[in-house]
């Protein structure tokens, strides 16, 4: 935190006070009677009143300090508090005794007890058990009470303090010792003050000093003499300091309480606004008006880093990311250019707090007060908290808005995608319909001419057989064979396209059962063949039973075809695991194939054997692949010439 125009002047004036007090004391006791009036003023009631006031102040102070030491854990307050308590009790009794009845004795006990505990301030570092700390003051108070009452009851039990109208030597000695003890306490407080710069310690120092001086100068006085009244005044001043301190503490805590209340209310209202309001501008506006209305400031506004102004404390706060305080606008040299306007607006001090996110300052919260130096440490702490809440709120809001926008974008995108899917589906449907019409036309119209070619060739062969040469007949037969093969090709193309077009119905399919029935069908086509079918039972999958039937017809049909020239032909259907997925295979020991051509295997109309070797149009494996693909599976194969082939497939 930077404080502009922090007043570097150190205040030494308060040292004048103790020096003055010491000087007056010296002047009073030293025999400079030429410049000092010498008198004896006998007034018992005035004295009693003074002592009673002192006792009351001491009692209050003792209780206050003991309570404070309990709450704050400051041990030196404990000793001082106990001292005040003891001193106040003795002084109280002293104030109600008459001269001769333990009058001096009780006073001496008071200063001796007080002094003793003030000297014990040096024991503040000492660790004490909680119980001892609780009991000791009250034990001491009880002792003081007992001694005081005993003194009132029988003065003869205690040493005499007066001798021929003069203070006895014992009285003088005891008071001097008490004075020294108080001075020891005063040294403790003065050191504390130098160390902590806490003004409270200076007050205590002053107080202990005056108690001490009163004790020391006791010996130079006679009862009711001017010296005697003087040290009474010293003591009274001490007690008045005590009282003043107490009253100040009380008032201060009241004011502080009010201020904290007001500040907390402001903070709470602002936080509520941050939570409640969804618009950034509105949030900032509300927060600023809370600062002014509840916080009692003159003006508050937020300046953003990108607003480009950057002058004054706001600009500094944005640039440095630190809080800037102008304690006195009227005489701050750095505020010269803006002073006239500020003063006209009634501003006396100002603060700029950076609003940060991830260490980056994005704005500054500016607050003006009509009071000079309105931003003390606790206020700054509170406002910093408010600034960090505002920064967090604004950022949360921005994040939320960004998220909402992203959500909206996603929704729009989804809608677009949906629309596109609908469009594509429509296109696909119309393409399918066209394809269907095309297929229908092919199946119907392309076959008709073939029938004519074949039919009329046959008609020529039948009707004009005798009139033509053998070669001519052969040509006509070849025309017929070609047209029939073309018909077969057309049928196969249609089959292939039907496999792709047909609607899928997923169900539980018994693959083993399909293989058994296909095998039986195959066996029926060539009864004479001896083929060993090894079909693993109980294999069921999920899929379209009709399509899978077609696939296995083709796979087993191939195996059947390519083992036709093999003695001891064997066709096997089984299952295995491939990459943790079930895979199925058809293995044969037929003619096999060269793996070099394996990429052509699954292409439509690609054949690895001639028509004369093994009949076929080359559509079977292409069909198989389409069916397996439609099931989300894969199909692949391994083969070796003259050793057979294996076809593997997986299904989703």
């Amino acid at each position: 935190m930077k404080v502009m125009n922090s007043r570097q002047k150190k205040n030494y004036w308060f040292w004048v006070l103790p020096i003055l007090i010491i000087a007056i004391t010296l002047w009073n006791v030293l025999p400079l009677h030429t410049v000092k009036p010498d008198f004896v003023f006998f007034n018992e009631s005035l004295h009693s009143a003074l002592e009673a006031i002192g006792a009351l102040a001491g009692l209050l102070m003792g209780l206050f300090l003991l309570n404070k030491s309990n709450n704050d854990g400051k041990q030196h307050f404990f000793w001082a508090g106990t001292g005040f308590l003891v001193m106040a009790i003795f002084d109280g009794f002293h104030s109600i005794t008459r001269p001769g009845g333990g009058f001096v004795w009780l006073h001496t006990l008071a200063v001796l007890g007080g002094g003793a505990f003030f000297a014990m301030l040096w024991l503040s570092g000492l660790s004490m058990s909680n119980r001892a700390e609780k009991i000791l003051p009250w034990l001491m108070a009880a002792c003081a009470l007992t001694i005081s009452i005993l003194t009132l009851a029988d003065r003869q039990m205690f040493p005499l303090m007066m001798n021929n109208g003069q203070f006895a030597a014992s009285a003088r000695g005891m008071n001097a010792v008490s004075g020294m003890l108080f001075i020891i306490g005063a040294v403790f407080f003065v050191l504390q003050f130098i160390k902590s710069k806490d003004f409270e310690n200076f007050l205590f120092f002053l107080m202990a000093l005056m108690f001490g001086l009163a004790g020391i100068t006791f010996q130079y006085s006679r009862p009711w003499s001017d010296e005697w009244w003087f040290w009474h005044i010293l003591r009274l001043a001490s007690f008045l300091i005590v009282l003043g301190y107490l009253i100040r503490r009380h008032l201060y805590s009241q004011v502080e309480l009010l201020r904290v209340n007001r500040a907390l209310k402001m903070l709470s209202e602002c936080n509520q606004s941050l939570v409640r309001i969804g618009k950034e501008e509105e949030v900032l506006h509300t927060v600023c008006s809370h600062i002014v209305e509840i916080g009692g400031y003159k003006r508050a506004f937020v300046e953003f880093a990108d607003s480009g102004r950057g002058i004054g404390q706001a600009g500094l706060a944005i640039r440095t990311g630190e809080t800037h305080i102008i304690r006195h606008i009227q005489d701050d040299p750095q505020y010269a250019s803006l002073r006239e306007e500020a003063v006209k607006s009634g501003y006396s001090s100002a603060i700029a707090l950076p609003l940060m996110e991830n260490g980056k300052t994005f704005a500054a919260l500016n607050i003006y007060s009509s009071h000079q130096d309105a931003f003390d440490n606790s206020e700054v702490k509170l406002l910093s908290e408010l600034a960090s809440d505002v920064a967090f709120g604004v950022m949360a809001l921005r994040t939320q808005i960004a998220r909402l926008r992203a959500e909206k974008d996603v929704l729009t995108l989804n809608k677009e995608l949906e629309q596109r899917v609908i469009e594509r589906t429509r296109l696909l449907e119309s393409a399918n319909k066209e394809l269907e019409a095309f297929s229908y036309s092919v199946s119907h119209d392309l076959r008709a001419p073939l029938r004519s070619i074949d039919g009329f060739s046959q008609a020529i062969l039948e009707d004009y057989s005798g009139k033509m040469e053998e070669e001519c007949r052969s040509y006509l037969n070849r025309i017929r064979a070609a047209s029939q093969r073309m018909a077969q090709l057309i049928d196969d193309i249609l089959k292939l396209s039907r496999v792709t077009r047909v609607e899928m119905h997923s169900d539980s399919v018994d693959l083993s059962g399909i293989c058994l029935s296909v095998a039986a069908e195959l066996q029926k086509t060539a009864n004479e063949r001896k083929v060993e079918f090894v079909i693993k039972p109980g294999i069921t999958v999920k899929g379209d039973s009709r399509l899978l039937h077609i696939a296995f017809e083709n796979l087993l049909g191939n195996a059947w075809k390519f083992t036709s020239k093999r003695e001891g032909a064997r066709i096997e259907f089984g299952s295995m695991q491939k990459d943790g997925q079930p895979a199925y295979f058809i293995r044969d020991n037929g003619v096999g194939y060269d793996m070099a051509y394996s990429d052509k295997l699954f292409r439509a109309f690609q054949r690895l054997h001639t028509e004369s070797e093994f009949p076929g149009t080359g559509i079977g494996l292409a069909t198989v692949q389409r069916i397996i693909n439609r099931h989300g599976g894969l199909v692949w194969s391994e083969g070796k010439i003259d050793e057979g082939a294996v076809f593997y497939l997986t299904l989703q």
Binding site: R451, F456, A459, R480, A487, D491
Partner: protein, 149 residues
């Protein structure tokens, strides 16, 4: 005794010739009436156009019906046949190039008695016609056609 007429509804002249040839080859000598498109077939059924004056009670022994026809398609004709009291029970054999499932289904749904796909191989076609003739003209007992039911 009504004449055992065969009605052939076929638009392709080649197919007409080949069908006639197959009949002839298989010694099926019944009179064959040819309707060359859907409209002609309709005319035959209602004794209109070139079939005006025909005795409507003279119901064909069997109707061979192509599906893909100009003007009025085969299924439409089939439905017409089935809606007419006189021809309702007349055997209709669909004789077509298509083997599409949809045609098969619609054919049977509309009341076809049989569905034959014309093979490209004439020998097979001839065999099919022979069996067809044997079955529908000889083996099959006709419903009492021509009588009011």
């Amino acid at each position: 005794m009504a004449k055992k007429v065969i009605l052939l509804v076929e638009d392709n002249p080649d197919d007409v010739d080949l069908t006639l040839r197959a009949f002839k080859k298989n010694n099926i000598l019944n009179e064959i009436v040819i309707a060359r498109d859907g409209a002609e077939a309709m005319d035959f059924l209602s004794a209109a156009g070139k079939f005006a004056g025909r005795d409507l009670d003279d119901v064909p022994q069997v109707i061979l019906l192509d599906l893909k026809l100009p003007k009025v398609d085969g299924l439409e004709i089939l439905r017409r046949i089935r809606s007419d009291e006189r021809t309702k029970l007349c055997p209709v054999v669909i004789l077509t190039s298509s083997k599409e499932e949809i045609d098969l289904l619609n054919g049977y749904k509309s009341g076809a008695n049989s569905y034959i796909r014309k093979p490209v191989d004439f020998n097979q076609f001839s065999e099919a016609v022979r069996q067809l003739g044997l079955y529908w003209l000889v083996l099959n007992e006709m419903p009492p056609v021509g009588r009011k039911v």
